[in-house]
């Protein structure tokens, strides 16, 4: 790989040699410098699957519905936010990449934070306006996944990263469809449809990394 000599003359390099260097250096750089979302997806998949699965177990037999344990719900959302924080600069920092992409990652994290914070504020407004507990329950189940789905869809479709943008679209669909299943079943829908989708996305990333 090292040209070995420190020579700066290309007299001995013919066109085919140059084309080979371009192909090899480009493939190597793209492989190493490509943002790696695998760990984030995997952890997020487990959080949604286990977290929302536990919520469903807690609320499935509630009559009347009074919602999941607030502490458990807050812990799940907090974990999801912390994972998005941990992903900021994670793999890119390791490869030495700086500049705008780091800024984009912070923007992503702040968007997640603002989106989820805004959702909680709206939930408070719903309670204040007299919304019933089941209505608030549906909202609190779907809001975080809808927020993250929309952010993924907007961010990654702009970058033409269609696999991750597709995940975002899927999360929005899961949130929308799940909302119609009611305050109890919605947790199971999200656990089963969103959690594995993140794991699948991690597997797709794995394939793309190897390609």
């Amino acid at each position: 790989m090292n040209d070995g000599t420190g020579t700066d003359q290309g007299m001995n390099m013919n066109a085919a040699d140059a084309a080979a260097i371009i192909a090899e250096a480009d493939a190597r750089a793209r492989h190493i410098l490509r943002p790696d979302h695998r760990v984030t997806f995997l952890v997020w998949g487990v959080i949604w699957f286990v977290g929302d699965g536990l919520m469903w177990l807690a609320v499935r037999d509630q009559h009347p519905y009074h919602g999941p344990n607030p502490g458990g719900y807050a812990a799940t959302v907090l974990l999801a936010v912390l994972v998005s924080l941990a992903s900021v600069g994670q793999s890119r920092a390791e490869t030495g990449v700086g500049g705008l992409s780091v800024l984009r990652r912070w923007t992503f994290f702040l968007s997640v934070l603002a989106g989820i914070g805004g959702a909680f504020a709206i939930e408070g407004a719903l309670v204040r306006a007299g919304a019933s507990r089941p209505v608030v329950g549906v909202f609190e189940a779907v809001a975080p996944i809808a927020v993250i789905g929309l952010i993924y869809l907007a961010r990654f479709s702009a970058q033409q990263a269609w696999a991750v943008a597709g995940l975002g679209l899927w999360l929005v669909i899961v949130a929308a469809v799940g909302a119609y299943t009611g305050p109890q079943t919605v947790w199971a829908v999200i656990a089963l449809a969103a959690g594995p989708a993140f794991v699948l996305a991690a597997a797709v990333e794995q394939r793309l990394q190897r390609a």
Binding site: N2, D3, D26, R28, I32, G96
Partner: protein
């Protein structure tokens, strides 16, 4: 067409590798000196020499942030550098096409 038509600043194995590596970064991104060294597998001395030539041609920009042990030197391709590399690959493609039997 001949090899003389290729930009001599880029047409050296090490510098070509540096240019292609930096071109793989996204717009507005830069790469640390050590990151570039890892990817190109050049010695620090070689890398500095080649970067200096590329910088003199206006193809790369280096920037030093911080001081002491926290100092970080980052390298990025300039707009002129990106255009020069595109031009280089275009000429190279024409050379290869003209050399291949039709």
């Amino acid at each position: 067409m001949s090899l003389d038509e290729l930009d001599p600043v880029i047409h050296a194995p090490a510098r070509l590798r540096i240019m292609v590596t930096l071109a793989a970064l996204g717009d507005g991104d830069d790469l640390s000196f050590t990151g570039l060294q890892d990817l190109t597998e050049l010695t620090p001395g070689n890398l500095i020499t080649h970067l200096r030539k590329l910088e003199e041609a206006g193809y790369v920009a280096t920037r030093k942030n911080g001081s002491g042990v926290t100092a970080r030197t980052s390298v990025a391709l300039t707009d002129d550098g990106r255009k020069a590399l595109e031009n280089y690959t275009t000429v190279l493609r024409q050379l290869l096409d003209s050399a291949s039997p039709s």
